[in-house]
């Protein structure tokens, strides 16, 4: 589903975000991406979501080489890749329902279909009763769940999450992880960047470890639990 072949990302300043990174994530896998700050986790997610393009090598998502994608195709790629952010990136001038509906509106889905799908997504994250609330009135964990509902409402085959539990206490973090596992069980491919090692260890999934832009370890599921 996600294949990196000798990918290097060099920024105009000369700083190398990623150095010669190669790996392959199968459809339906759930993978954690870890490493210290500045190791290149965010860069890797940005390249996968086509927020940036790599300098060398190939990034292939869902059998499409991203380097060959024209700018006009980028929106359609992003619809296939749901993104979840540490700071949620919600629109604070509109209620929860409208935030979650946005990807469907953008994709040109009809009104009744939108209502049905948004409620289904909100139900999945346990926020069905909050659809008329403004994001600012919600707790951090609830806001993050709204962000997740927005990412999954189009039922994308791939979900990317950048430090989704970064601001949450352990109990809320565990809840979010449970949610991700449930998406994974219905076939969604997940790539989750996190520096919360204890949480990652508990999950027992495959782990990619980055350090200074290089992929240092590719640990199979359960490797840290033994």
């Amino acid at each position: 589903m996600i294949r990196y072949e000798q990918v290097t990302k060099r920024y105009p300043s000369g700083y190398e975000g990623l150095k010669d990174v190669s790996f392959h994530i199968e459809p339906g896998e759930m993978v954690f991406l870890t490493g210290p700050s500045g190791a290149g986790k965010s860069t890797l997610l940005k390249l996968t979501g086509l927020l940036e393009r790599c300098t060398r090598g190939q990034v292939i998502v869902d059998n499409r080489n991203l380097a060959q994608m024209r700018p006009s195709e980028i929106p359609y790629h992003r619809r296939k890749v749901g993104m979840i952010f540490q700071d949620h990136r919600l629109l604070h001038d509109r209620p929860v329902f409208d935030n979650v509906a946005l990807p469907l509106v953008v994709a040109g889905v009809g009104r009744e279909e939108i209502g049905r799908r948004v409620r289904a997504a909100l139900d999945q994250v346990g926020l069905l009763k909050k659809e008329r609330s403004m994001p600012i009135t919600l707790s951090g964990g609830e806001q993050q769940r709204v962000g997740i509902a927005r990412a999954v409402v189009t039922r994308p085959p791939v979900l990317l999450a950048d430090e989704p539990t970064g601001n949450l206490d352990p109990r809320l973090s565990a809840e979010i992880m449970k949610l991700f596992e449930r998406f994974n069980q219905v076939g969604v491919t997940l790539l989750i960047a996190s520096h919360d090692v204890s949480l990652i260890r508990r999950m027992g999934k495959r782990i990619l470890v980055l350090d200074q832009g290089a992929l240092t370890h590719d640990l199979p599921p359960g490797a840290l639990n033994r």
Binding site: S72, P75, K80, M83, R89, V106, A107, G108, R111, T154
Partner: protein, 313 residues
């Protein structure tokens, strides 16, 4: 997985357009002070050339009515017989360039002069009538082409019975020339102020783009096309243009209303059949179609310049 295809059904696209248009209008109404100011600036900028155009076209109508002043008076020679004068008048009346002709005998001239001048007693002392017979000619040319009137006069001067011809042509000529200059000036002014409207709308949209920077970024992140992101801003420009045009219309009608009564009184004093026309179709079209197009254009320029720079990071 139709969501990931490059295709939106027409029905949904139209619904989205309508929704976006209304949302853009709603956004304007949520910032009434700012929107009103922008609308007023656009309205005033458009009302100025339109108002001048209105004044000019009315002046032209007025000068059409003044074509009477380019009527020709043929003063006949004193020795010309009355019958000869009448025949001459009849002949002139049949000319293609002439719409009306009136023969006034020397006696009639005197009688009229007596009535209007109040020199009754003095005139009684005169042994003979000092006034000549006159043929009054109204040339056909309405809308005043001074050159052809002049040609007609040259032709009539050659008549044997004619002593001299009088016409207030210089004044008509100058007036026509001045109107032409003023028209050109209004055109230039309209061009400049349209540019100003374009810039005002462009700047307003630029500010709106800045204010909604984050929203644009997030919308791009979740897969919005550029067309989708442009749409609300283009509609904002359209609404600003339309509202500005309507405001200008209001200003022009109001000014026309204020000016109408004293102007009509003036024209009554001049004994003219002039009627004031408040709006012509060009101006109306400019306000209701041209102004929204200006708005769209201004927004398109701003959007083209600023939207590309906003990329999610």
């Amino acid at each position: 997985m139709s969501l990931f295809k490059h295709f939106t059904p027409l029905r949904i696209l139209l619904a989205h357009h309508l929704q976006t248009a209304l949302a853009s209008l709603g956004r304007l109404s949520r910032n009434p002070a700012g929107s009103l100011m922008t609308t007023a600036v656009i309205g005033i900028a458009l009302a100025m050339p339109a108002g001048l155009h209105l004044i000019l076209s009315n002046l032209q109508l007025l000068s059409d009515n003044w074509d009477g002043s380019s009527s020709i008076s043929l003063f006949l020679k004193k020795e010309a017989p009355e019958s000869g004068g009448r025949r001459l008048a009849e002949r002139i009346g049949e000319m293609a360039e002439v719409s009306k002709v009136k023969f006034v005998t020397a006696d009639e001239s005197l009688a009229e002069f007596r009535r209007f001048s109040g020199f009754d007693d003095v005139l009684g002392l005169l042994q003979e009538n000092p006034l000549p017979a006159v043929v009054l000619i109204q040339p056909k040319e309405q809308g005043g082409n001074p050159v052809s009137v002049e040609k007609l006069v040259e032709q009539l001067k050659k008549e044997a019975l004619v002593d001299h011809a009088q016409i207030d042509l210089e004044w008509v000529k100058r007036f026509a020339a001045i109107t032409r200059i003023a028209q050109r000036g209004v055109l230039i002014l309209a061009g400049l102020l349209s540019m100003a409207v374009l810039l005002v709308i462009g700047n307003t949209i630029r500010l709106e783009i800045q204010n909604r920077h984050e929203e644009i970024e997030i919308t791009k992140l979740i897969g919005a096309t550029n067309a989708f992101i442009r749409r609300p801003f283009l509609y904002s420009g359209f609404w600003f243009g339309l509202l500005g045009g309507l405001f200008a219309l209001l200003l022009v009608l109001l000014s026309a209303f204020l000016i109408q009564e004293p102007l009509l009184q003036l024209t009554i004093l001049y004994n003219s059949g002039f009627t004031f026309s408040a709006l012509d179709s060009t101006t109306l079209l400019g306000f209701l179609v041209g102004s929204p197009i200006l708005g769209l254009l201004g927004a398109a320029i701003a959007v083209g310049r600023h939207l590309k720079r906003i990329e999610p990071a």
